[in-house]
Each structure stands twice: as C-alpha cells, then as structure tokens.
Symmetry: C2
Subunit: 207 residues, 2 copies
Amino acid sequence: MNQPGESLRDRKKRRTRAALERATVRLAAERGYDHVTVEEIAAEADVSVRTFFNYFASKDEALIGADPEAGPRIAERILAFPGEVSPFDAYRRSILAEITDELNNARDLWLLRKEVLMQRPDLLVRAFANSAESEQLLANAVGQRAGLPESHVYPRLLVAAGSAAFRCAVTRWALDDSVALGELVGEALALFGTGLAHVPHHHEGGS
Amino acid sequence: MNQPGESLRDRKKRRTRAALERATVRLAAERGYDHVTVEEIAAEADVSVRTFFNYFASKDEALIGADPEAGPRIAERILAFPGEVSPFDAYRRSILAEITDELNNARDLWLLRKEVLMQRPDLLVRAFANSAESEQLLANAVGQRAGLPESHVYPRLLVAAGSAAFRCAVTRWALDDSVALGELVGEALALFGTGLAHVPHHHEGGS
DNA sequence: TGCAAACTTGCAGTGACTGCAAAACAATCC
DNA sequence: GGATTGTTTTGCAGTCACTGCAAGTTTGCA
C-alpha cells in the first residue's frame, strides 16, 4: 500500500500543512494579522496549537507559507539552463518561472495575502529573514554558473537584488494588480540588470 | 534653565537610550542574543523593564539601535547636494556619509554587533523590517531629485538596493573586517549602479 | 513654591513559542 | 490478524516578549 512517493502519511501531512497555511491567510485577511491568534488558526485547521508549531516555526512563516523545497527547486532551475545563458538571465528566468508556477497553483492565496501585506508591509520583509539557507543555495548556484569563488560578492548581491525586486513588485502589485506580479518582478530585475546609475526613461501613464 | 535644544530631560533621555542600546549589544555579544532577557538588559541599564519598552519597541530594535532621526537626516543629505549630482550619486554619497559618521561615533558597538549578527544573520534582515517609514522618506527624496512621480519604481528600487548593499556588506565585513564597512557598501552600490547583467571582472586575491 | 507636562514604574494580562512525555496512528514484519 | 516499530499529534507546564493602565516621580516654568 504505497504509491511511488505518496504514502497516506505524506498525503495527510501535505493536507495539514496546506490547511494551516490557508487558515492563517484567510483569517488574517479577514480580521487583520494581529487580531488572529495561533489558537484560532489551529482550531480552524482542526489540529492542536502544538501541531501548528510542528509545521511552522512562527505565525509569520505560516502566513507566507514558506516552502522549504522552493530554494532547492530554484537552484536546480538555475543550473539547468544551457551554458550559453548568462548567470543573470538564468537567475532571472528561474525566479520568474517559480513565481508563475506559484501564482498558478495558489493565486487565491496570494490575493488574500496581498490584503494582509497592504496593512503590514513589514511582514514581507520579515518573511525573507528566515530564508538565509535558501538564499545561500541560490547564491551558490549563481556563483557556480559564473565561475566565481565562494567569497565573491556578485552572487550574493544578485540574490539580494532578487529579494528586493520581489518586495518592490509585491508592494506595487498590492496597490494595483492590473499588471501581473511576474511582470513587475521582471521589470524590477531588468532595472537591476542594466544598472541604477541613471534614472530610467519615464513613460507617461506607465509606472 | 534651557540650553539651546538640550535640557536636562533631553540629556537624561539620550543617556538612557544609549545605556539600553549598549547593554543590549554588550550582553548579546557576550552570551548570545536569545540567552539575554529584556529583564537583564533593563537591570544592566538600571531602569525598569517597562522603561525599556518606552524606548524601544522590541529587543531587536534595541540591538540595532534604530535611530529614528537617521531617516530624516539622510533624506536631508540627499536633497542637499547640488543639482548636477545624479540621484544615484546623491543617494550613494548620503548613505556612505551616514555610515562613516556612525562608525566614527560608535565603532565599538558595531564591532560587538558584528559578533551577534554572525550568529544570527536573520536579525540584520529583521532590523530593516520596521524602517518602512524611513525608506519612504529616502525614496521620496530620490524621487524628487529624479523628477519622477510618486508611483515610479525607481526610487523605491534604489532604496531597496541600498538595504541589500548594506546587508551584504555587513555580512562580508563580519567575516573579514580588514576592509572598512564603508568601502564594502560602496563597492556593492557601485555594482548596482553599473548593473548586474554581466558578471564583474574577477580580481585575483580581491573579493 | 506650586502647577502642569513628561517620564518612570509596577502590575496584571495576552499571546507566541519550547521541551517533554504520553497517547494515537501508520507502516512493516510475522 | 496481531505484535512491533517508527512517526505524528497532543496536552501541559513554563518562559519570555510585549501592552495598557493607573499610580508615582521628576523636570520645566511661572
């Protein structure tokens, strides 16, 4: 009784995790992040408070739905591009692919998260605080592609630029979601690519 | 009994704030950030726990010594440069000036902070979480210089790049402080200035 | 000296988060 | 099917960050 890689146990775990994430986002969007207690979230997902903390290290983490597999997955993507693709492009395209996938899988959750992040922008920053290992993975992948030694700044800076681009994009998206989030991240990364030394040309009516 | 701008009250407040900041950093460096309670910090600074929270909204904030005047001060600097200086340069030079000043005033504190941040890099990220208003100020200043509408991404992106540069620089500095922190921040900002699309040339023995 | 405003403090309370040990559960072996 | 073993869930007791409130204390000023 064991399908390739998906036991009853695994299925239950995935479902519990998803239920907790969903409950957190839903309740936070409904009544405001700090008017929701972990106790209420756990009740909504039909598990004990202690179980909540077996799945997520903090309420913050549950709200963002930090996926521990995202880091490795993106790193793999970065390395999978053919050799002639520049490290920057490999990184950019990997990030955009991840975002597109994520939005396709959980657009509804992100729309709710948006509401919460509009009230509490600091949560978006804090969300990146615990992803140091993932960032390290990405930086290593970029560094490997670029043929740079571990100690070089470039990979770390590029990854940091990615977070910054994502943060800015979400902020803009929260104010006006008529443009796809992926577009906005792409735009921000493009600016980082060409450099910030000169003010970009300002299109009327655009952004 | 009121010198221009520095009353007894003001002096006492500054001293209490400094004592709390100093106690936090010292104790955290000594025994590790989460083996120090606010109660101990308050005792060390000879005030009540409640008073600690009158000065700092959180333990995190006390560790970083978030200066509420830093934002306005930097914004002012940005706007003070003559008109022919580009927004990017104005921003870059303002940040570097602030860092230089800060290190000259409190180098010892930063050396201790470095120890703490090496153990808990996430604190550095979290430190920027509550500075949204300051970032807004800086972005507005940059936007004004650049003659861009409020809604444009460029200013926000530049400011975000600044945080990223600072974070990377501190991380590198923590590993090897033979180079001045200001230098490292400058280097990172320079890369952001010229763009990340191409891997920078790799100097042997350099970084 | 005396009043008003600003600061400090204690206290009681909420809520996030942790370690531990026991109970419930799923996979495996006979 | 039933015993065994490894995993997950749960309750519980405890710690600690942080908040609002209502005194108490200190400083600024007339």
